[in-house]
């Protein structure tokens, strides 16, 4: 590729727009949403891009309806998504649970702002990390991705669609207001260079067909309405037939499979980035915007001869525990830097033990600066 060719696909793109462009490239053909700062640019861009590719955009009456419409479109066979922020994310939770239970592929973008309640609509936050994990009721899995740059918003949005399709589940992409509104120069990948995954469609014989019978991969192929399966989809606990059951063994089998199907695919679900962790005495754990500051802090610390490393989970849930343990091997102290009152902190404390972990938290609507991380490192050393 010549230099000019390489430059041809370089664009200044805002994080929220990169999300929309990636969704289109990933094959998303349905968007339903309700406007909310700081995510609205995702919807605006989708309303522009979807008609060009024969897709459907609709602004629904609220976020509950948006998520319902997304699930309905996905049941009909389209790759579908919605985008929102804190208050809207709360409203979507019942339907996220439905998508998990009924195994309906879907992508939910949450551009985080300060909370709780209306909070600080235009300020960044990472306050929804635990809601993304446990927002809907009942025992359930959660697949949550947390990009830290505009380029990564693009790649992680594509990955979100792939995981949603492959695992038949809602997938949540979490980033904060800063990344949503950040403009960076990114190289838009050529559409044909993207590896896209489509859900498996049912092609089993119709006689005795069981829509929720799964093979070794624990993921049942999805029946497409109109293909003659005439199957039943419900948010009630069901057996392989898709019809509700209260049989304890069948109820347990359903939930166990839902949980284990994600565990079985940890190789494609997990993602993390490491920087200077091999010999680190001190390890910073950061994701999203604080991870950008942490990178700078690691560079400066190393120049000063301090052995600082960075562990950056790209998949937040399920937490990439194995990669973290490897990265934290030599670290005597672990600093968790996040823009909330201590959410991923709990997970790191669980894995590494409370005595090894120090929090560096901000929940005042401001980001965490490299100097603050270096200060924390100084205190920890």
């Amino acid at each position: 590729m010549s230099k000019t060719e390489a430059n041809a696909n370089r664009h200044n793109v805002q994080g929220n727009h990169a999300c929309a462009l990636a969704a289109i490239a990933a094959g998303c053909r349905f968007y339903a949403g309700y406007p909310i700062t700081p995510s609205s640019e995702v919807a605006e861009r989708m309303s522009l891009e979807l008609p060009k590719v024969g897709g459907v955009f609709i602004q629904m009456e609220d976020e509950i309806a948006s998520m319902g419409a997304v699930l309905g479109a996905s049941m009909g066979g389209l790759k579908a998504m919605t985008a929102t922020s804190g208050p809207g994310f709360s409203l979507k939770q019942e339907h996220i649970g439905y998508g998990i239970l009924a195994e309906t592929p879907s992508v939910v973008i949450n551009v985080m702002r300060g909370g709780p309640s209306t909070g600080m609509p235009t300020r960044p936050s990472q306050g929804d990390v635990m809601q993304a994990r446990w927002g809907t009721h009942g025992d359930h899995t959660a697949i949550v991705l947390a990009p830290a740059s505009v380029a990564e918003v693009y790649t992680e949005t594509v990955r979100a669609f792939n995981l949603a399709e492959q695992l038949r589940s809602p997938v949540i992409v979490l980033f904060d207001e800063i990344i949503g509104h950040l403009v960076e120069t990114i190289q838009l990948p050529a559409p044909e260079s993207l590896q896209l995954i489509e859900r498996k469609w049912a092609d089993a014989p119709k006689e005795g067909y069981l829509p929720y019978a799964a093979g070794d991969d624990m993921i049942p192929p999805m029946p497409r309405p109109g293909d003659g399966y005439r199957s039943h989809t419900t948010g009630l606990t069901h057996d392989e037939s898709g019809f509700p059951t209260q049989d304890p063994a069948k109820a347990e089998a359903m939930l166990a499979r839902l949980i284990n199907k994600v565990e079985r695919h940890r190789d494609v679900v997990d993602a993390a980035d490491m920087m200077a962790t091999e010999d680190a005495d001190i390890l910073v754990v950061a994701y999203g915007t604080p991870a950008r500051a942490a990178r700078r802090a690691v560079k400066e610390a190393r120049e000063q001869g301090i052995k600082l490393g960075l562990f950056r989970p790209i998949t937040l849930w399920p937490f990439p525990e194995r990669a973290f343990l490897a990265a934290a091997k030599s670290a005597k102290r672990i600093i968790v830097a996040e823009m909330n009152a201590g959410q991923l902190l709990l997970e790191i404390e669980r894995i590494a033990g409370r005595e090894r972990v120090s929090p560096l938290l901000r929940f005042d609507g401001e980001h965490i600066a490299p100097d603050e991380i270096l200060d924390a490192v100084g205190k920890a050393a």
Partner: protein, 281 residues
């Protein structure tokens, strides 16, 4: 529409998942009659079961969807219209019919109803109105008649009643109708008209919760309750009131109450606007 289908007599069993029998409905529940009328209309229209998508909410009304031998989606309480909107936009080729209850559609789902009516997407919404929350044990609903006893109105209901048909029409539904279950062929014809209509059709079925609401208010046997529907309906429709104990105190108009064929169907209009934009370039 296929002529062959029309010639075969209607056999409700052909449209039911018989392996799920016996069904859960209480003896005498009006919802079963509504289900039969719906399937009868589906039969007369010659709709292929493979192409039929039933989207239902939560409640006794919503639970009936599972018994239909079609693509059935039992969604969440109050939100079947939201799911149906996504499904119909994604798959205009499917015949999408929503089954919902008075609580499902008018209380928790009221917002979705008015916006579905406003949009005019080609969905038929069948609301089975039994004036009560049947599934959860008989609590008050937005359509519970004045003074009626429910498990949450022990002193009698003092809230005003929603006129669902007026609401749907006011919100822009292009086909609106109401019918009682006692006149099953008439109900079938109304549903048939709603499905055939190209746009959002809202149909209120006057149903009964005999087991809970009926008992609580001493409304008589199932048969008596169903027959009493006659006296509650518009006098010009039912002249011979055979039971002098109105189930519903207000006389409600029945039949087709609104039918506007001029407004474009939403999905078609959206697709046309995309086409127009593409050809402009």
């Amino acid at each position: 529409m296929t002529d062959a289908k029309q010639q075969t007599p209607f056999d409700v069993l052909q449209y039911l998942r018989q392996e799920l029998m016996p069904h859960f409905l209480c003896p005498g529940c009006g919802h079963g009659i509504a289900l039969r009328a719906l399937l009868w209309a589906v039969h007369e229209l010659g709709i292929e079961k493979d192409n039929l998508a039933i989207v239902s909410g939560i409640g006794c009304a919503g639970r009936t969807g599972a018994y239909i031998d079609a693509n059935t989606f039992h969604t969440t309480h109050g939100r079947p219209l939201a799911f149906a909107t996504g499904l119909k936009l994604a798959r205009p080729d499917l015949e999408v019919i929503v089954i919902t209850g008075d609580g499902d559609c008018l209380a928790i789902g009221g917002n979705h109803l008015i916006h579905a009516a406003r949009r005019n997407l080609d969905i038929t919404c069948l609301m089975l109105n039994n004036e009560v929350y049947g599934m959860t044990g008989g609590q008050v609903s937005p359509t519970t008649s004045e003074d009626r006893y429910t498990t949450t109105t022990p002193l009698g209901n003092t809230e005003a009643v929603f006129d669902a048909c007026k609401l749907a029409e006011g919100a822009g539904a292009t086909f609106v109708g109401r019918e009682v279950t006692v006149q099953t062929p008439t109900l079938k014809n109304l549903i048939l008209g709603g499905i055939a209509h190209d746009g959002f059709a809202f149909i209120e079925v006057i149903s009964d919760c005999t087991e809970i609401y009926g008992r609580k208010n001493d409304l008589g046997s199932s048969a008596e309750m169903i027959l009493s529907q006659k006296s509650a309906m518009r006098p010009e429709t039912f002249e011979n009131n055979i039971i002098d104990r109105p189930f519903r105190p207000n006389a409600l108009p029945t039949g087709v109450l609104a039918h506007d064929k001029t407004r474009p169907e939403y999905g078609a209009a959206y697709r046309a606007s995309i086409k127009a934009q593409q050809t402009k370039k």
